[in-house]
Amino acid sequence: MPAADAERLAREVDGPVELMMIEDGNHIATNRALSLALAKRGLDEGAVGLIVMAGHSRPKDGVASLAYVPAIPLRGAMP
């Protein structure tokens, strides 16, 4: 989703609002969550191989299916 949508939401909310813009974040900024989690453990992404973020392992092909692709919670994958 475009960052401008969050900026517009923040502008149009009537009441206290805080906009947190992750400049190098992807959609829902999971790339930053992964980087920060690894950094806290003194690791980089290359050191731990493939980590699948929970909730983002399924193909988004618009086809509803019960054939879930197993997702690995990030914290469970951390050494």
């Binding site: 989703m1 475009p2 960052a3 401008a4 949508d5 969050a6 900026e7 517009r8 939401l9 923040a10 149009e12 909310v13 009537d14 009441g15 206290p16 609002v17 805080e18 906009l19 947190m20 813009m21 992750i22 400049e23 190098d24 974040g25 992807n26 959609h27 829902i28 900024a29 790339n31 930053r32 969550a33 973020m53 929970a54 909730g55 983002h56 988004k60 092909d61 618009g62 509803a64 879930y68 997702a71 919670p73 990030l74 914290r75």
Partner: protein, 153 residues
């Protein structure tokens, strides 16, 4: 906690953890078009309707403080959550993570060929008054789900 488009409650594990670590009880659910619910309830824009049912349920729980309910939503749930907060004053705080402001306006620019030709989502309804005591809007500027250059908002 509202998940995205066709997501499932089981996907919320990593998102619930920070709240639980802070002593905040979580309730993640599947609304129309999501997870197991999608087989009985088609996706709908007025997500405040299923949220009302969730809030009604929370109020039946004696172990939860219904006066301190916050709603978090991710992706399309980041649209659903502020919308529900606009309709139901029982939601006192809200986090919108990566949600669209007007999904319909971005529809034709969604990544992938499957989006075109499908029904458009509704924009936020115009509501008067405060949506919640507090709203946090979070987004990644480098999102590629929709090209910023091609988006309209």
């Amino acid at each position: 906690m509202a998940v995205g488009l066709d997501s499932t409650k089981e996907e919320g594990d990593a998102y619930e953890a920070p709240f639980l670590a802070r002593g905040v009880a979580t309730l993640i659910f599947e609304g129309p078009g999501q997870g197991e619910a999608q087989y009985d309830f088609p996706i709908r824009g007025d997500y405040e309707v299923p949220v009302k049912a969730v809030l009604d349920y929370i109020e039946t729980r004696g172990d939860l403080d219904a006066s301190r309910i916050g709603m978090w939503g991710v992706s399309l749930g980041g649209y659903y959550a502020p919308r529900a907060a606009a309709f139901d004053g029982r939601i006192k705080a809200c986090i919108a993570l990566g949600g669209p402001f007007n999904w319909g306006a971005n529809w034709d620019n969604l990544a992938g060929p499957d989006a075109r030709g499908l029904p458009r989502a509704q924009p936020y309804p115009h509501r008067r008054g405060r949506a919640a005591d507090r709203i946090d809007a979070v987004a990644g500027r480098a999102s590629r789900r929709i090209s910023p250059a091609r988006s309209s908002s």
